[in-house]
Amino acid sequence: MIVLNQLSKTYSKKNQHIHAVENINLKIEKGEIFGIVGYSGAGKSTLIRLINLLEKPTNGSVFVNGQDITKISSKELRVVRRKIGMVFQHFNLLWSRTVFENIAFPLEIAHVSKQEIKDRVNQLINLVGLDGRESSYPSELSGGQKQRVGIARALANNPEVLLCDEATSALDPQTTDSILELIKEINKNIGITVVLITHEMHVIKKICHRVAVMEAGSIIELGNVLDVFTNPKKETTKKFIKQIVYDDDSHESMNHLIEKYSKGKIVILKYKNENIESPILSQLIKNNDVDVNILHGKVVQTSTGSYGTLYLQLTGNDITKALDYLISLGIEVEVMN
């Protein structure tokens, strides 16, 4: 769907040259959600803006749907851009227009008829869950609602690609989740290719199929999200993965564990302050006929105390008894298979 070929962007000011993007080769498949993660200044925004040529490359080419868009006229480029939706961190809505008019904007630009605009916008408003808010102005909406308008607007001309530059970075965690859910759903239902930039690993974890890690203008690591998460090669990647705690919503990782350790039971134990100190595991093995394999564990220190999570594989004859024993200690037990 998108092929970047030896793509570079250098900003030059007087004698200073900033290589924001340096010789990137990348192929993004049709229908995938492709994540790009990196620290501030890594060149993520520059890269995504090169995809729709908001930024002119210093070198290299950009293929969208097999067409080299660095070679076409500005008039042709405008037509291509209608098929590449873009969502921004700060929404970039027109404050002078209502929700309806904002979503109608790209359609007006594409000279769509009034009646068609009306139908399409209403359909989009429904898709992003903003029914009843069509005549509100952006200033009357919450951040999450504004981003829903941003997404609806980006989808108006039925694009084949959706570019998201930190689309959730200005939102709280809960709203972030709902927006990510929406993007995931749209990707599933209409098969749109999504390129998503973020500096939060959990955004990648939540919805991306593949991920590229960027540093100093280059892609330093690339692969399936699960592979990169379980087997990071570069220091920067490892640091990013540390952002992620194996928490209760990491279904992908959980499924992976269940697949890998098919014998016995996979259980998650959640402790609080008081039982962490007591030697529960040795007690568990002494009192029951079970073997315990620790898959993953974490103790988190917070300002008000600590809590821990343990992922165990239990095998043996007394699994049920062992679980009852753990529950009797006041530990939260969740059996995953």
Binding site: L54, P106, I109, P138, S139
Partner: protein
């Protein structure tokens, strides 16, 4: 009406209301015509100033030249500008007195003023919104008509309000070339002939016009500002 005449005779012996009405009309005429011209050409010039403010060398040069011109015209005192423009006025209007004769000077004085206000208003627009429009495939012209003007409209309106009020005071100065209007009434008919009641009435009418302009401008700005 009779009562008004009696009151006038008692307190404002020299004021003739028909004359006041006539001069008010002249002032409003001059202000209205110039404001329309200034709005159109100032907007255009402001847009050019804004759009040429780029890192492109050639484009930047156009910007610098225009900017210098504007600064020069803005620093010429209006009263001197009128005098300087007498030959030019004579050529295009055909005479150098009367209410039409003041128009070229008024327009030329106010366009650079409003152009600067327009430029400031356009700079206030969130760059991201312009970028979003570009990303959607908007053309240069569509960006101007669908983004730049609507998004800066409140500031454009309040700017033209300020300009119209400035023009109002300029029309008073235009009285020196016999342009008529309330300024002429206050100075020539009033002050010069020691008819202070006439000066007073002309001033009060001027103030009232300013107040009306300002409230209409404020109301409109508030009405369309959805930020």
């Amino acid at each position: 009406m009779d009562k008004l005449n009696k009151l006038t005779e008692a307190f404002l012996p020299h004021v003739k209301w028909v004359k006041v009405l006539e001069y008010t009309y002249e002032t409003l005429y001059m202000t209205a015509i110039t404001t329309i011209f200034v709005f159109i050409f100032g907007l255009l010039l402001g847009l050019i100033l804004f759009l040429t403010n780029e890192n492109h060398i050639l484009v930047k040069m156009i910007n610098k030249i225009l900017s210098t011109f504007i600064n020069i015209f803005r620093s010429i005192p209006f009263i001197i500008l009128i005098v300087l423009l007498i030959p030019f006025t004579n050529k295009i209007i055909g005479n150098i007195t009367g209410k039409e004769a003041a128009l070229p000077a008024l327009i030329i004085a106010a366009i650079p003023f409003y152009a600067r206000l327009v430029e400031i208003a356009l700079r206030e627009i969130n760059k991201g919104v312009i970028e979003a429009a570009r990303a959607m495939g908007a053309s240069f012209f569509q960006i101007i008509t669908k983004v730049l003007i609507p998004e800066s409209l409140p500031a454009l309106i309040s700017g033209i309000t300020v300009t119209a009020i400035t023009l109002l005071s300029y029309t008073a100065m235009a009285g020196v070339i016999g342009a008529g209007g309330l300024g002429y009434l206050a100075i020539d008919e009033g002050f010069s002939r020691s008819r202070h009641d006439v000066t007073l009435v002309a001033t009060i009418v001027s103030i009232m016009i300013v107040l009306v302009f300002q409230s209409v401008g404020d109301y409109t700005t508030k009405k369309i500002d959805k930020r």
